[in-house]
């Protein structure tokens, strides 16, 4: 298994896209922190990177990568290796390269410039978001054999989580503004990993506002250790469940 992971990582490195992604992250985050006079604005730029760029790059690259390595997978399947192992190695290889590039690209400036709590939190969430979208890409690429359809599905999912979901939530908020919906809203955020990550970071960035009358509800939930652990677990579910479904499908798939 280790050998397969090694091959996957070497292959990804040869591809150079992940290297370019690392450099892009580094340029963006270093410039964000050094151009602005306060670190808050730099952190806001990084927040947007975590919420938009990281999901987009990881979901698209992974989907295309899996489609392109169809032959490699078929070759591996002809060897006496369990399907579970092959799929898992692919997942680990991709996740590792994205995690490392996020840590090198964005993590170092974050740890240098941002306050330590916020920095570590953003680093952790960036890593989790990368893995979540890799695992969603696994799911969408196993769902259909058609490459165009698969990539399209990935883009749609990215759009949904990063844009449409917030739009729907905003719409619901206004439709049901006469009802006490704060608690339900907390539950609804759990339906999107991007929103969960955003709120956890907001509690560090805009702590004064989050203590206001509405924020207090979120603060009471997400701000406590228990709430934080629950949201971390939810985020972990967001990469475990899609990966697991994709694994089940991969094992049954007739290649």
């Amino acid at each position: 298994m280790n050998r397969i992971i090694k091959y996957v990582i070497i292959d990804i490195l040869k591809n150079k896209i992940v290297v370019a992604y690392t450099i892009m992250l580094a340029v963006l985050s270093w410039s964000a922190f050094s151009l602005e006079d306060s670190s808050t604005k730099g952190m806001l730029t990084l927040l947007n990177i975590i919420l938009l760029t990281v999901p987009l790059v990881s979901i698209l690259f992974t989907t295309i990568y899996i489609y392109n390595s169809a032959e490699f997978i078929e070759l591996l399947l002809s060897q006496p290796i369990a399907r579970k192992k092959i799929w898992f190695s692919l997942f680990i290889g991709l996740s590792m390269s994205f995690i490392v590039s996020f840590i090198i690209g964005a993590g170092i400036p974050l740890l240098i410039y941002a306050p330590i709590n916020t920095g570590v939190m953003m680093l952790l969430l960036g890593v989790i978001i990368s893995v979540v979208f890799i695992s969603i890409a696994f799911l969408s690429s196993i769902t259909t054999r058609d490459k165009a359809k698969g990539i399209g599905m990935s883009i749609m999912l990215w759009l949904y989580f990063c844009l449409l979901f917030d739009g729907i939530v905003l719409f619901l908020l206004f439709q049901f503004s006469d009802y006490p919906i704060e608690k339900i809203m907390v539950i609804i955020t759990a339906l999107s990993p991007v929103d969960l990550a955003r709120i956890l970071i907001l509690l560090h960035l805009d702590v004064s506002a989050m203590l206001g009358y509405t924020g207090a509800i979120f603060k009471d939930f997400f701000g406590t250790t228990l709430g934080f652990l629950i949201s971390l677990c939810l985020l972990c579910l967001w990469f475990i469940v899609p990966y697991w479904i994709s694994l089940v499908r991969f094992r049954k798939k007739d290649l």
Partner: protein, 411 residues
């Protein structure tokens, strides 16, 4: 010879003015403060030596100087009001006054001044009292350099640190109030100055003004109080160079202004509050040269405010700079520095060429629909905000700073 008589005459004069000195303490002619007060004649000094005095309620009903040496302790045993001042020209200096009784009907205090003028209370430490220092119908009183501490948990079970009622021309200088209901409370107090006090960790407000006109508070620090500082139903108050910080919570404000007019807010620092300044029903206020930094909401100006001028302030790193609850804008914003301003300055006069709309669309949305805070900083909301900045449709378009500064003021 003449000179000698002069000196003798002066000596007697001074002696008469100073009065005589009575020493109270262990092994002294008097061991109780009460008896010393009883035998003293007006103008005398009573020096109290170190020790613990549990004498119940001590009433000072003649002009005396009560001076503690090495901080003698007056203990109310949770049964009595400790010191009651019922005479003009009383000085109380250097005592530890602790454990007054608790009663909501007659509000006992560590030191309570009844209808008296020219009372000086200084260098005392008041601990665990219901009210700390209570002045009713006092004029020209000075409260100076006291440390007042209580351990209140609930609002209704603890009094205020320094409570002034129907008084005039008070000076409250250099006191430290901690853990009371309100740090300093003014009701119907006029012409008074509050200077260089520190009010931290009080359950309700650090400073609470009601119906108190023509007062000034200068260079005070209000930190981590339940709901910040409240100035209500008042006119002509001067607020200079104070620090309002870390007033966090549901209804917590750095400074809460309600029904107040003709006042000045100059050179204050508002940092890390849920809301920096909250204005409701205020008029003709000038807020100038304040630093408003890292608050959830820099200023909340309700639509009931009019003719206020907000100029030359720094708004830095607030989640929302300004928020309001209506579309009516009768206030002027001018020459402020906004760190969210994205305009340019072609003629290099350090004033931005484009006007700045300090009211973001999302702050209006959150005001109307608070749970929307959940979506803050999401891409969707950022998009909405940007488009609103370019073409204001939902936010009032006269909510505007026509000459925003390009660089922060040095405050």
């Amino acid at each position: 010879m003449n000179r000698f008589f002069y000196i003798v005459f002066l000596f007697f004069l001074v002696h008469n003015v100073l009065g005589k000195t009575i020493v109270v303490g262990k092994g002294q002619p008097y061991t109780k403060i009460k008896t010393a007060v009883h035998v003293a004649s007006p103008g005398d000094s009573i020096i109290v030596l170190k020790g613990v005095y549990k004498e119940g309620n001590i009433v000072i009903d003649k002009p005396l100087s009560l001076v503690g040496k090495n901080l003698p302790i007056l203990d109310g045993q949770k049964k009595y009001e400790v010191l009651s001042v019922k005479s003009n020209n009383v000085t109380i200096d250097g005592f530890v006054i602790q454990r007054s009784s608790v009663a909501t009907l007659d509000d006992p205090g560590g030191i309570k001044v009844y209808n008296s003028n020219y009372v000086v209370i200084q260098n005392c430490i008041l601990e665990d009292n219901f009210f700390g220092i209570y002045i009713q119908y006092g004029k020209h009183c000075i409260i100076r350099n006291n440390k007042i501490k209580a351990y209140g948990i609930e609002e209704q079970q603890i009094g205020n640190g320094i409570h002034c009622w129907k008084s005039d021309s008070l000076l409250i200088i250099g006191n430290k109030v901690d853990g009371h209901r309100d740090g300093i409370y003014f009701e119907f107090v006029t012409g008074s100055t509050i200077w260089r006090n520190i009010a931290n960790n009080n359950i309700r407000y650090g400073l609470h003004f009601m119906f108190s006109n023509d007062d000034a508070y200068i260079c005070n620090v209000f930190k981590n109080n339940g709901a910040g500082v409240a100035v209500m139903f008042t006119k002509n108050v001067k607020m200079y160079n104070n620090y309002f910080s870390e007033n966090w919570g549901d209804a917590a404000y750095g400074l809460l202004l309600k029904e107040i007019s003709d006042s000045y807010i100059v050179g204050n620092h508002f940092e890390n509050n849920t809301t920096g300044i909250f204005m409701e029903g205020t008029s003709r206020i000038i807020a100038e040269k304040n630093s408003i930094k890292q608050n959830g909401w820099g200023m909340k100006i309700q639509a009931s405010c009019m003719d206020n001028t907000i100029k030359k302030n720094n708004f830095i790193a607030n989640t929302f700079d300004i928020s309001t609850n209506g579309t009516l804008v009768l206030n002027t914003f001018d020459n402020n520095y906004w760190d969210k301003y994205e305009g340019y300055d072609l003629n290099k006069d350090k004033i931005g060429d484009l006007p700045y709309h300090p009211l973001s669309l999302f702050s209006v949305i959150v005001e109307k629909n608070p749970p929307a805070m959940l979506l803050f900083r999401s891409f969707m909301v950022t998009l909405l905000d940007k488009s609103e900045k370019i073409i204001p449709s939902l936010t009032p378009d006269n909510f505007i700073d026509n000459s925003p500064l390009m660089r922060p003021l040095l405050l």
